[in-house]
């Protein structure tokens, strides 16, 4: 069963424009949601997690349990934001971890 859905494979925005990367999930119980990012020729790394409620590199994500969504947003995209973004979910036990298929974001100068 697909637990994490990222509907956009590719997303292009102009520098300075707002960006939103969509993520929907299906899980019974109380999952923990994450966004991971992979910059070109770098390792996958954590961007943010919903329980910390932080803004990292200007990105925020709000967990909407009613809509089962965890969309990633940034008001003004920068060229260095170009990367592959993965939404991920951890179950309550923490023993399993599920990634979406990823969205490749390109910020056009």
């Amino acid at each position: 069963a697909q637990r994490v859905t990222q509907p956009e494979k590719l997303l292009s925005v102009f520098k300075g424009a707002p960006v939103e990367l969509k993520c929907n999930y299906s899980y019974s119980g109380s999952p923990e949601l994450f966004w991971y990012v992979q910059y070109s020729r770098q390792r996958l790394q954590l961007l943010l997690r919903h329980i910390s409620r932080e803004s990292i590199k200007g990105f925020t994500a709000d967990l909407n349990k009613g809509e089962t969504s965890f969309h990633l947003k940034k008001p003004f995209a920068q060229e260095e934001d170009s990367a592959m973004y993965y939404c991920a979910l951890s179950g309550e036990t923490g023993n399993q971890f599920y990634f979406g298929t990823g969205t490749s974001l390109t910020v056009i100068p």
Binding site: V4, Q6, E32, Y36, R43, L44, Q45, L46, R49, Y86, S90, G94, N95, Q96, F97, Y98, F99, G100, T101, G102
Partner: protein, 113 residues
Amino acid sequence: GAGVSQSPRYKVAKRGQDVALRCDPISGHVSLFWYQQALGQGPEFLTYFQNEAQLDKSGLPSDRFFAERPEGSVSTLKIQRTQQEDSAVYLCASILLAEGEQFFGPGTRLTVL
């Protein structure tokens, strides 16, 4: 200190060969995940260790896949009788405790001919 390392970085195997992929987690990290990432896909969960205990192996695609972490540090993912569909990048990630940020290795790209 050093991050998570994986070896080899690239592996080419003939169909039917056995392969062993190694993961060296960050020293002291309790938890370790293995993932399989096919081209154009996100990482797919394979298995999870807490120290030397394999707490979840529900993601292993077949009984040809076997993972171990005998001393609670280095882990090995073994694939027996490799098939073409096993071609993927295999990622390892470690976590300091049971929950927290996963630190990923660079991956091993396996190509089965």
